[in-house]
Symmetry: C2
């Protein structure tokens, strides 16, 4: 997955591993966490597959940098990946951790949902601030035809945080009702 994310970024413009790391950290982190170590490993592998090429640029005072570019084969691979229709069945640690909560008392689980609620409300506030995030992206995307898709992911983020807020509220309510049905247990 990360391989194709890197191809996607290099398709905007040439970058070093360090810059790719920065984009993931500052802009894509809300949907993809990428470790520096993995980025460099994948770049090596992408090169071995002929999907990217690199040029070493000597610098004064700083270490040399390797600037990567997508090759035509890489761009084709990117398009191929975009067109694949995989049923993206991601495992959900959140639901796993919720499913088995019967082992804990309702009071404890109410606290669990309260924390989730706070998280969702705060995260939504952050995501709704377009200037800060948009500024990050503008370095990467200039073309409005590409920016649409970026906006879609942000919109998803906002909707998801709203889901989490509503869901945690519903769950807390159910647990409150349960405390009345099975009191002092």
């Amino acid at each position: 997955m990360l391989k194709h994310g890197i191809l996607g970024l290099l398709n905007y413009h040439d970058m070093t591993g360090y810059e790719i790391r920065g984009v993931f950290k500052d802009s894509l982190a809300f949907f993809w966490q990428a470790q520096t170590s993995q980025i460099y490993r994948e770049l090596k592998e992408l090169k071995a597959r002929g999907w990217v090429s690199d040029v070493t640029v000597p610098q004064k005072g700083k270490p040399d940098k390797n600037v990567f570019s997508v090759t035509e084969a890489g761009r084709e691979e990117l398009r191929h990946w975009l067109l694949e229709d995989r049923k993206e069945t991601a495992n959900s640690p959140l639901l796993m951790r919720t499913f088995f909560r019967g082992e804990l008392p309702p009071e404890e689980n109410i606290r669990y949902f309260e924390a989730m609620h706070r998280f969702a409300v705060e995260a939504m506030e952050t995501m709704k601030q377009p200037p800060a995030i948009a500024a990050e992206y503008e370095r990467v995307i200039q073309d409005p035809r590409r920016a649409v898709y970026w906006n879609m992911t942000i919109e998803y983020g906002v909707m998801y945080m709203d889901l989490l807020r509503r869901w945690s509220e519903d769950c807390m309510q159910k647990l409150e009702e349960m405390k009345h049905e099975y009191p002092a247990d």
Copy 2:
């Protein structure tokens, strides 16, 4: 993660690896895909850590079965895991695949969201049928205090499919508008 899922199931009652596989396949698959090979591997590891114990039961005609039980240490580990507050930052292949779609023409991406829309609507229909799924669960959960949490995960599933439906509709609309702004490109 799967380790704790298995502990959670064994905490309901003793099971063989084969039965655990069945529960994941029939009931938990919508939030966690577990491979048979991994289940057996994790059971071995859980035993090595002293979180489960097993008894071999000889059978006529069928291969022997290993019936697993949680130990007190395992139950403690389960509770500990439930109480951890990790920020569950799962990577989203869905958003990764959406973010980079600027490489494809809008018409192609409209088809992408149409497929997503169909998926969400169908999945929601399936999830809203309680009898079929509930029957699967009743073998595992009898206690209403535990069933609440199961219902919460189902409710999340329904809300999530609704999110996917609304989001894909919004995205399609944006792309239709874009076709007018940047026609025949």
